[in-house]
Symmetry: C2
Subunit: 483 residues, 2 copies
Amino acid sequence: MTTPNGAKKPFVLNAFTMNAVSHVAYGLWRHPEDQHYRHTDLDYWQELGRLLDGSGFDNLFIADALGLLDTYGGNAGASLAAGVQSPLTDPLLIASGIAAVTESLGITITVSTTYEHPWLLSRKFTTLDHATEGRIGWNLVTSQLESAARNLGYDTQVDHDLRYDRADEFLEVAYKLWLSSWEDGAVLRDKGSAAHPEGMFTDPAKVHPIDHEGRFFTVPGPYIAEPSPQRVPVLMQAGGSARGVEFAARHAEVIFVVGADDAAIRRNIAKVKALAEAEGRGPDAISFITSVAIVTGETDAEAEAKLAEYQRHFDFDGAVVHYAASTNIDFSDYGPETPIRYLDTASGRGLLGMFAKEETGRDWTLRDALAPAGGLGRSRLFVGSGAKVAAELDRWANETGLDGFNILHVVSPGSYADVITHVVPELRKLGRIRAPRDPGTSLRARLFGQESARPRADHPAHRLAAIPAQAKPAKEFQKDDAQ
Amino acid sequence: MTTPNGAKKPFVLNAFTMNAVSHVAYGLWRHPEDQHYRHTDLDYWQELGRLLDGSGFDNLFIADALGLLDTYGGNAGASLAAGVQSPLTDPLLIASGIAAVTESLGITITVSTTYEHPWLLSRKFTTLDHATEGRIGWNLVTSQLESAARNLGYDTQVDHDLRYDRADEFLEVAYKLWLSSWEDGAVLRDKGSAAHPEGMFTDPAKVHPIDHEGRFFTVPGPYIAEPSPQRVPVLMQAGGSARGVEFAARHAEVIFVVGADDAAIRRNIAKVKALAEAEGRGPDAISFITSVAIVTGETDAEAEAKLAEYQRHFDFDGAVVHYAASTNIDFSDYGPETPIRYLDTASGRGLLGMFAKEETGRDWTLRDALAPAGGLGRSRLFVGSGAKVAAELDRWANETGLDGFNILHVVSPGSYADVITHVVPELRKLGRIRAPRDPGTSLRARLFGQESARPRADHPAHRLAAIPAQAKPAKEFQKDDAQ
């Protein structure tokens, strides 16, 4: 993508990981250089944060799930043994620990709307947006794992579309709390003045109940917390299903797209853009990203040698364990050469269909899908010198309309360090790395090159945050009104 | 209290505060030295953490609430204007930020069991116990504010005893997840050995479902996270009602007691000890603390002068606003000289009764109760040189059986700095400050002078964590079993 004056737009560059032994670098925790298995150790996250801060990476993006992967073989044994997304601790709780040692890095955390309440989760993000001085992002998910649902009191997963209906209303409540309940200037911090001789911390006349009464939530308000720099965390999402894409097009500012090939990625981006336009959002309202793995070094040969070494630690079975949970299909009876088109895709929730012959025009086996070209997982792999990888990323973005990348680690922090050393300087030459900004700049302003820390004027948050006309200021708010 | 060999037991010394402009130092945010109104700023919490770490304070104890205080006058206006427990952000989210700059300080966070699910909250505490290397504590509350209930989808507060019934089962689930699901040695981190040529991160044979099916929760497990150093956060609680005291006596390791006078504190401690004994807990299983405010300096005169200066910033109305919410009685029509015995105590939930003539043998007015002797709030106030305050704390503990104190700030961090400078050295001479320990020592081991980081053998957690006999290891665990 280029800007109107022909200069290339800087990429959105996220370091993509999970607070678990392995995210999608199956088996690589066994590599001597990998440190990510130290994920429970705050020192590890601080080392990673310091490496990424001001490095050219914009954002640390931490995935999450709320259950163990137990589809493969009908139990969690395989995922536990292989360390695939297990053990898994909470990424939201380490965010302020990372913020404590970084100055400009964005920190985007995955939280599901399905098992949280907007009254409580809104305050969590406000707290973190304050603590990071406006560097927090939220990767919106609705939780797909059966194992999470079972442990949270459901016999089976909440219906897919119902989860998104609830998520829509969840965000509506959150927007009201974040954007409408406290006016600008509500917090006076007046220790005593002519206007308020006894002092006034918050002006109650500028704090409003939200009087939300919906299908899923009744939240009278007013909000409990002082608005934070961004008010609304930068919203990221990856919706694959029709309902998920509709949701993403409405709310997300950064969208994670997948596709078996370039044409599929282009199609998926076009689909979201059309839906976003129908929501009144401008053509450049959303940045599209996808995940990539990068193996790089001083020379192409050095990178290739590194790849060969990594491949010796790759665990194909771990990839299958993860894919089984993602698709809810027990692959334990299928070999790696099974053609995907012969599997039942009905319960595959869109992931399998992505690789079907009808979609791509060719046969895919499990191995093709899960460890293509080089075999380090499902994401596109780039191998070579920094110049080679940078040129390929640039070309790929031009061809597909991608605005940036979630860069996976093969080993961590080694893979990120390699990208910083070799690829970032080459991307900078291509105009793909954003200029340094003041530490006080918000994540949103940095990612989208805007002045305001808040969502753009065309973001539906502003419309959805409108509070009912009958809502009265807090000082007149009577307890009985809400009951 | 003395140990068997006659030496005095070190106090449990907590710095007690809230992630809000004012906790209970009503109006003191207007004092030029107070920094606590910067509560949204992570730098502030890091400054406070660094001050307390290794200072003689054992623990930073952060209170919380889930709603605005809106009983007084029927709306939140008065609490917003006075900054009383508003604005209020989430203390759990800043814990790792504080942990990042401290080495031995305990960090105890208030979280309600009423609006959380044990499957999710257990993981949050495990995450923080890892991040702090075993320094996390949990102040258990069940949420009493109507304003929280209304915003979380209830017409009114959940019945008091029902909240405690749910809290009991909540802890039973958490104990099973924390103590029983993952055996010691389940995490192998074996990158490849004779026993496991392909490597094994977690041994599935040592990870068990918990098969919990109760009145409030169905949680099959197995747990998602690797056990943390303490496995169970140090459990603190303040239960005033009969059901609350029963709950505290069962679960808490540190209990916050109140009483209008020394005799009442002694009675309350004796009551809890009797209940704890009935649960099979030893006589020294629980440490009892209460909150105190301390104004100290080089000399008594300097401390008295400081107090007079603080009093000029004290906001009695703020105290009433808080007390109204605590008792659910709208005091806006009553003056400070109203005798408490004339107020309806039926809905006062135990707090008003504490001051009733029938309990204490004398008349109390609102002013007596909320700003006694010196007028800086409801807690006992100690004023004087370090030697004087230390001697009084020591004598008071001897007379009441208190094991330590939640020390409030009048101004923060100034009040804590004064205690560290003037009172801690004198308490140390009296044997009331615990010896420095290795940074790796857990909060539990430090507070209770024990070797193990886990709850004592007589703690009911071990009994309650027992998992049903039919539960099978994860590797044999079939999805259908849990449905």
